[in-house]
């Protein structure tokens, strides 16, 4: 599906599979900050303003195709619905991502401890035992007159 300016590249902007994690840090002047404080939630308020700005640009570009308000309203709704259709998959992916990260974070200390025990206790102990057994075997063979005496 192709969308008019400024949403020609909508898939790269909105699709969870293609979205980039690159972040833009927007510096707010005192004036903008005051206005956003009046608008309530800064994060959501800023995004609402941003999409209102983008929607105005979209309306302008749609008017070049057909100047009737009805047509433009339908097109705006269509683009909105197309993007919001991705909300359920995005929710699922976000839930899955945070749950699996949380589960791994919870399991990590036990896993690290298990690794540490295995490396520093069990394997070390076995290596030490093996060295002791070999030394004992050598000593016993010497004391009994060697391996030939056994056969």
């Amino acid at each position: 599906v192709s969308f008019p300016f400024p949403f020609e590249d909508a898939r790269a902007v909105f699709h969870p599979e293609e979205v980039s994690d690159e972040v833009a840090v927007v510096q707010l002047s005192e004036e903008a900050d005051k206005l956003l404080q009046k608008a309530g939630s800064r994060e959501l308020g800023f995004r609402e303003g941003l999409y209102a700005l983008l929607c105005d640009a979209l309306i302008q570009s749609l008017r070049k195709q057909d100047d009737s308000d009805g047509y433009v309203a339908d097109q705006v709704r269509e683009l909105r619905d197309a993007v919001l259709a991705l909300r359920a998959p995005l929710h699922y992916r976000y839930y899955e991502q945070s749950q699996s990260a949380r589960a791994r974070r919870l399991a990590a200390p036990a896993q690290d401890r298990q690794l540490w025990m295995l490396k520093n206790r069990t394997l070390e102990g076995l290596r030490r035992d093996i060295a002791d057994y070999r030394a004992r075997i050598r000593a016993l063979r010497r004391a009994t007159g060697g391996e030939r005496a056994l056969t």
């Binding site: 980039s20 927007v26 303003g49 974070r105 004992r136 009994t144």
Partner: protein, 187 residues
Amino acid sequence: VTSEIEVLAKEWQLARRVCVDRTDQEVAIEVAVRALALLEEGEPQRDEKGLLGPTDRLMVARRTFAEGLADYSWLLFRFATERPEAHRIREEDDKALAELAHLSRLLQDLREEARRLKAEVIRLEAFATERGIDLDKVPAAIDWTNTMLVDEPPRFQFVYREPVRRRLRQRLARWSAKLKSGRRTSG
């Protein structure tokens, strides 16, 4: 500059494309003005059937577009920015699991070798005792209380036993057969 706000770079690029000739701070003011205007926007007038005219429909479409996409954008921002951390955790976990698997294989090999050598020590000690050698005088004595457990634990073996009633019945049958045969022989 008093504060800053983070958005996905792609979204901000869209805004910069729309406002080509303005600075970032000017665009931010435009955005904030629109955010406040959306909040102060009244409800459109509906006709007697509850329907909206085309202009009002466009106004509602613009508002729902901004609200819906802002909501989606906030979720997308959290998803995208937390993804590298989640990816890093997954990679660390995979690495730890691979190391654990490698160490487990190594453990099996070492246990097998230790078990074989332990059996050899026991065999040689028995042989030396048979030959009258005092084991305490042989050097490198093993402190058995301080060695790792390498023997296979005894496995549970299932032994089928007849149920008690059936066993009693069988025993009774044997007794009665014995008695009968005893009577026959005595009679």
